[in-house]
């Protein structure tokens, strides 16, 4: 081992485009070994597109994605799938599939025509179910699960792939807040257990709390990256999201916590915040 182990996954001068619409040009990002890298940015900033390129779902129009220093396009597809696991934004569980069956589909890159369900496959599925706390669900139909349970099962499917790189595309988007925290804790545990995690997240506070390395994007460019404590400032949030906010210390984690202002509470002229009429908030 050298003093600075090379990034297992990195983007070098990527131009990313769908058909003729260019999403990003000259994009370079390193995913540090053992890091929990989180990419944040407003809608359509190219963060999910970057993740697609990193997982080889999208071929860059220019530039390279390097997996262990070698162009990812030159690997065989199954080889990539044994190194890089991806939890996509949308996926479909076939009708009538059970949890263990779906998680078993994650074994695809390790299987062949003759080896369809080896002892290794069974061990990997068992471990993935245990790691995600879904062992008790294994015989249930995926259609019958709650949203939070279902997302855990999809995570288990990616874990069954047994990759040391884990890419997550907005994994918490459709979950309620308790399940979001639950799932982020699961990712943190997987990271602590030695996996390198790359996640695209919507929620800046979630990103700040769980990331070891934060990448902020806007308009297809990386605006800032580094430790959350260094990156998340009121200036950066205004710059990237166009949002006025106050950054305070997270009373739980001690990291940065973004508190948006919004138009109802504009930045005060020096002095105390004026009293306002009470606002009733109906939670949903």
């Amino acid at each position: 081992m050298t003093q600075h182990p090379p990034a297992p996954l990195s983007a070098r001068g990527l131009t990313l485009a769908y058909d003729r619409r260019t999403v990003a040009t000259d994009l370079s990002v390193d995913v540090g070994p053992g890091s929990f890298t989180v990419v944040v940015g407003p809608n359509a900033c190219g963060k999910s597109t970057l993740l697609r390129a990193l997982s080889r779902l999208l071929a860059p129009a220019a530039g390279q994605v390097l997996l262990d220093g070698r162009d990812i396009a030159r690997y065989r597809t199954k080889e990539v799938a044994r190194r890089v696991g991806l939890l996509p934004q949308t996926s479909q569980a076939p009708d009538g599939i059970t949890v263990a069956d779906l998680v078993g589909r994650g074994r695809f890159p390790h299987q062949g025509l003759l080896s369809q369900w080896s002892a290794d496959d069974e061990r990997a599925v068992r471990a993935a179910l245990a790691a995600t706390g879904t062992t008790d669900l294994s015989g249930r139909l995926v259609d019958e699960l709650s949203g939070g349970q279902r997302q855990r099962v999809w995570v288990a499917m990616v874990l069954a792939q047994q990759t040391d790189l884990l890419l997550l595309d907005e994994p918490t988007t459709f979950l309620d807040v308790a399940h979001q925290v639950d799932l982020m804790d699961l990712f943190a545990a997987l990271h602590a257990a030695g996996r390198t995690v790359v996640a695209v997240l919507h929620d800046l506070n979630q990103a700040a709390r769980y990331a070891t390395h934060l990448v902020a994007m806007r308009g297809g460019e990386v605006v800032a990256q580094g430790a959350p404590g260094d990156v998340v400032t009121a200036d950066l949030v205004r710059d990237v999201f166009g949002l006025d906010c106050v950054v305070v210390e997270d009373p739980v984690s001690g990291g940065p916590l973004v508190v948006p202002r919004g138009r109802a509470w504009p930045a005060p002229a020096p002095g105390p915040v004026p009293p306002r009429e009470p606002v009733t908030v109906v939670g949903g």
Binding site: V84, G85, P94, G96, A100, L114, T135, D136
Partner: protein, 370 residues
């Protein structure tokens, strides 16, 4: 022998999280047979084995019934004697020469249509995505009509026209549906549109034609097993065997794509490559059947869905669809031959009647479940 064992489903124990016994069998929600020997390992659901066995037995029963009944009734015992080569004279001629090729072709083509339907439904992730809905059957019919009307005669010429028509239609639908890859629902909608255009052109062609040719084209278009012999069975079985290899080769990638394009790609499936292979094999299976018999509707549409429900298999089941397709076609053909005897109906008429009812049920069911 290899290590084969039956895994029983243990009762669900609520609140046992984190205490999972490492040695306990993994509950996959059904009883399974696992065969492992060296690097070879296979798993099959017990219910699938039972269901497919039952379907095969039912198909055999219908086959023997078909061989035994008709203008020249043969006792079932004599049928078995003929099949084992211990009959002669009239019985042997009727059973082996006239009736057996028809039954064998029904089994082969029914299985081919069932598998083709399963492949397109898997590809489009939609129970409506079958070759008769997407337009390949209509395309094959149009090809055959064109050949008939331009003076083509003979079995092989018409078959070639059908295969050509089916492939051209598939290509047109595939290209029109292409936008950054082919997506299931777009494939169906484009297919229905193309299918409507083709069938109106075919109708116009038939109306223009002189009566004799128009009748020939119409009879062919109903889809029938009437009058087939061993000369048709041999190429069908040969091509079917070759295509079976193709089916086996694409099946794993195809099943992985049922999870979605992104998930499939992330698992190491070459998405567009696999999809193209599925289309080619599926169209070829449809074309082989259509070329020999004309378009037999609804077997490809109904067999995969019925099989899925009977087997309780996740996604699509190719083996189940093959068994169900063979059973459906052979059973429908028995009805077609005997229901209005001595009048022989084209089997396509029977499958359309059954299939129409099924399609209505499917559409209502789909509409309710959304």
């Amino acid at each position: 022998m290899s290590a084969a064992h039956v895994r029983a489903v243990p009762p669900a124990v609520p609140g046992a999280a984190g205490r999972a016994d490492v040695a306990a069998p993994l509950d996959r929600g059904r009883r399974e047979l696992v065969l492992r020997r060296g690097r070879v390992s296979v798993v099959v659901a017990r219910r699938s084995v039972v269901a497919v066995t039952v379907l095969v037995v039912l198909t055999l029963v219908v086959a023997v019934l078909t061989l035994a009944t008709g203008d020249f009734p043969v006792a079932p015992a004599d049928v078995l004697r003929a099949l084992t080569g211990r009959a002669e004279g009239r019985t042997a001629t009727v059973v082996l020469g006239w009736r057996l090729p028809r039954v064998v072709l029904g089994v082969v083509l029914g299985a081919a249509l069932g598998v083709a339907g399963a492949m397109f439904q898997s590809l489009s992730r939609n129970p409506l995505g079958s070759p008769d809905i997407i337009g390949f059957s209509n395309g094959a019919y149009a090809g055959a009509v064109l050949v008939l009307l331009s003076g083509g005669t003979g079995y092989l010429t018409v078959a070639a026209g059908a295969v050509g028509g089916g492939l051209v239609t598939a290509l047109v639908v595939y290209l029109l549906a292409w936008r950054r890859g082919v997506q299931g629902f777009r494939l169906i909608v484009v297919g229905i549109g193309v299918s409507a255009v083709i069938s109106s052109v075919t109708t116009w062609l038939v109306l223009q034609a002189e009566v004799r040719l128009a009748v020939a084209a119409t009879v062919w278009g109903a889809g029938t097993l009437n009058g087939v012999g061993w000369d048709q069975v041999r190429p069908a079985a040969g091509l079917g065997a070759v295509l079976l290899l193709g089916v086996v080769a694409v099946s794993r990638g195809m099943h992985a794509l049922e999870l979605g394009d992104d998930a499939g790609a992330a698992l190491g499936v070459g998405v567009e490559r696999t999809r193209l292979a599925v289309v080619v094999v599926g169209v070829a299976l449809t074309a082989v059947a259509t070329a020999l018999t004309g378009p037999i509707a609804f077997v490809a549409l109904a067999a995969p869905q019925l099989a899925r429900r009977v087997l309780r298999a996740p996604g699509t089941t190719l083996v189940g669809s093959a068994a169900m397709g063979a059973f459906l076609l052979v059973a429908c053909d028995l009805v077609a031959q005997r229901a209005f005897a001595p009048q022989q109906l084209p089997v396509g008429v029977v499958t359309v009647s059954l299939g129409g009812a099924y399609l209505v049920w499917l559409l209502v069911h789909e509409a309710r479940s959304r």
